[in-house]
Symmetry: C2
Subunit: 351 residues, 2 copies
């Protein structure tokens, strides 16, 4: 028992099968998982158990009505072997914000935080120490209760799995500014990390990939006029020396990387504007040479520089700069995350 | 083997535990299910197997990215014991339309239709003969492939389960015309029967229920100005003697009941208009007494009369009429479905 969490350990570790120097993203899973059930109207104490399959009735509501939310976090191991999380309470809070919108019962903070800590303690050896690698952490909650009635389930499962992972993207990405499909509605669930938001993006993304882009930049569903976000990243745009990002809303995920970057940029004296930014403004800036950088920001990729974008049958390249905000901000944030620098914001969370 | 579908029968039927005179909706499941797997780039032949739990890795994409679509159909048994489906090919086509939008591989027609027929043949005894009851049929497809990368899965499962069921709603419903939340975006997945569309409706529906309504009527997400549809029903509005329903779009499910009712109403000489209908028009009609009826139309409830609606802190009651379109149309469509009348449209599908 760590922090009162029951722990059942695996009898056979798989860790020796894993090549920690050549990790893909999220495809190898650690020995244990956290499991926690909601039934009879309440969440029951979580347990650390061996990573194992989940068995559900075919009528479980997750299969039919999409009641699922998730989070994405990372644990880093520094040179001394100490383990750090980055702003984990933000993930906990956002998970509950997502759950509420999806009519999923909210979790007690201690079940999330103590459960997570117990899990990472047990699977500490799975946290990579290699440069650029980390333990990707995936908390998720889904409807496990049964029935074909389109209404909230009466049972849910909260699970945390972890996956030692390398970098998410390699290299710069070329993006398509979407003019046909949309990710979210006003008054919808776009601000939630709800499973259904991702499934809806796959087909338009496939179409973009067929045209030679790697990612889609979503725009508002009314006129496709304003830049919103990418598939799993918020978007920053640098025009001249000003860094611009759209305001969050009920359509856009309130990214933890995004808000950390805003704080870092402010502290660095980089002019930051949080305001609506139109596709028109970005295209004009690309044409007149004031568009300097675009990058995505999210836990998985941290900062993902964009090499160019497509918009209405035209392609626009971004300049190759020597000193980019993307590199500068990425170094600052990852140095904080991996305990290579001071932590002036108090974001690091030592295990 | 029926139609080349492999069949593995259960050794212990549960049918004697079921009270067919007191069936709820979709909560008792028949002895068998159809199961069909997509892997290695193709769908493999479906099998009829005993109803059994589904086992998935915690990283299965259904838990994380909401890749799931479903259908809802009914089988009816007439007085002679013959079994009928209603326009099943429409459900098959719509399932594939939904799948395409969710980047799920489309199913071959024969796997759906022959699989369905084989399943119903094996579980024929589960199809209720009681007035108002039917066998509710739930085909669904979900991502069973693994991995934490937000991209389409490489494996899927297509399943059909059935549930002997009584009526979905009992009595008239009072609805709230939604002015805050939305069901779908322009360019989104509203026209698909995607799991995520339903989860997103639960919370706003709970808020409406707390205010004394049973269902929400969704409106467009731009200005909440036009009537769209209900949770699992399309909406018809009768003003004077004209029956009005909104056009389908990428935001609204193309309901099979809806289009059948339009055809029946046309054949009956009822004036029908398929056009956008504003909330303003409905409220004005309620105020000046020309609003005669509102009803929902969908497979589960067939036709569900609405007793009144709430809009911006006011409630509007609908009149109690003796001869409603709702009752007249419901009788015609259910008589066709249950083989109590001729089938001038060729909709009935005898097993
Ligand atoms: C849609 C979307 N936007 C933005 C982000 C970035 O959020 P965060 O920085 O908290 O990871 C994510 C998640 O990673 C996301 O899924
Ligand atoms: C959102 C939605 N609208 C309308 C309908 C009605 O469609 P159908 O008549 O094909 O059952 C359904 C499904 O039953 C639905 O889920």
């Amino acid at each position: 028992m760590i922090n009162d969490i029951e722990i059942i350990k695996t009898e056979a570790t798989k860790i020796n099968e894993v090549d920690f120097d050549n990790l893909a993203f999220g495809s190898v899973f650690s020995d244990h998982m956290l499991e926690c059930d909601f039934k009879d109207g309440k969440w029951h104490a979580p347990k650390v158990v061996p990573y194992h399959p989940i068995t559900l009735d075919p009528s479980a509501k997750i299969f039919h009505y999409g009641q699922s939310v998730f989070e994405g976090m990372k644990a880093y191991k520094d040179a001394k072997g100490d383990v750090y999380l980055f702003r984990p309470l933000e993930n906990f809070k956002r998970l509950n914000i997502s759950s509420k919108r999806l009519a999923i019962p909210e979790l007690p903070e201690s079940y999330f935080m103590d459960g997570l800590k117990a899990l990472l303690e047990v699977d500490k050896a799975w946290i990579p120490q290699q440069e650029g690698s980390s333990l990707y952490i995936r908390p998720f909650v889904f409807a496990s209760g049964n029935g074909f009635h389109a209404s909230p389930a009466n049972a849910y499962k909260f699970v945390i799995c972890t996956a030692p992972s390398g970098a998410y993207f390699s290299g710069k990405v070329k993006v398509l500014i979407e003019q046909t499909y949309s990710r979210s509605a006003n008054g919808g669930v776009g601000f939630a990390k709800a499973g259904g938001n991702y499934a809806g993006q796959f087909y338009p993304t496939q179409l973009a990939v067929e045209k030679g882009y790697q990612q889609v930049i979503w725009t508002d569903d009314t006129n496709h006029e304003f830049i919103e976000e990418a598939g799993a990243m918020n978007i920053f745009i640098r025009i001249n020396d000003t860094l611009i990002t759209g305001p969050t809303s009920d359509r856009i995920l309130d990214g933890i990387t995004r808000k950390s970057i805003i704080d870092i940029a402010n502290a660095e004296g980089i002019p930051v504007e949080v305001r609506k930014i139109s596709v028109h403004e970005v295209v004009e800036a690309a044409k007149n040479g004031t568009l300097k950088e675009m990058f995505g920001a999210g836990t998985a990729a941290v900062i993902s520089p964009i090499s160019g974008f497509g918009y209405k049958d035209s392609d626009y390249d971004l300049p190759e700069l020597d000193n980019t905000y993307a590199n500068r901000l990425k170094k600052i944030i990852t140095d904080i995350q991996t305990n290579k620098s001071e932590d002036p914001f108090g974001w690091r969370y030592k295990l």
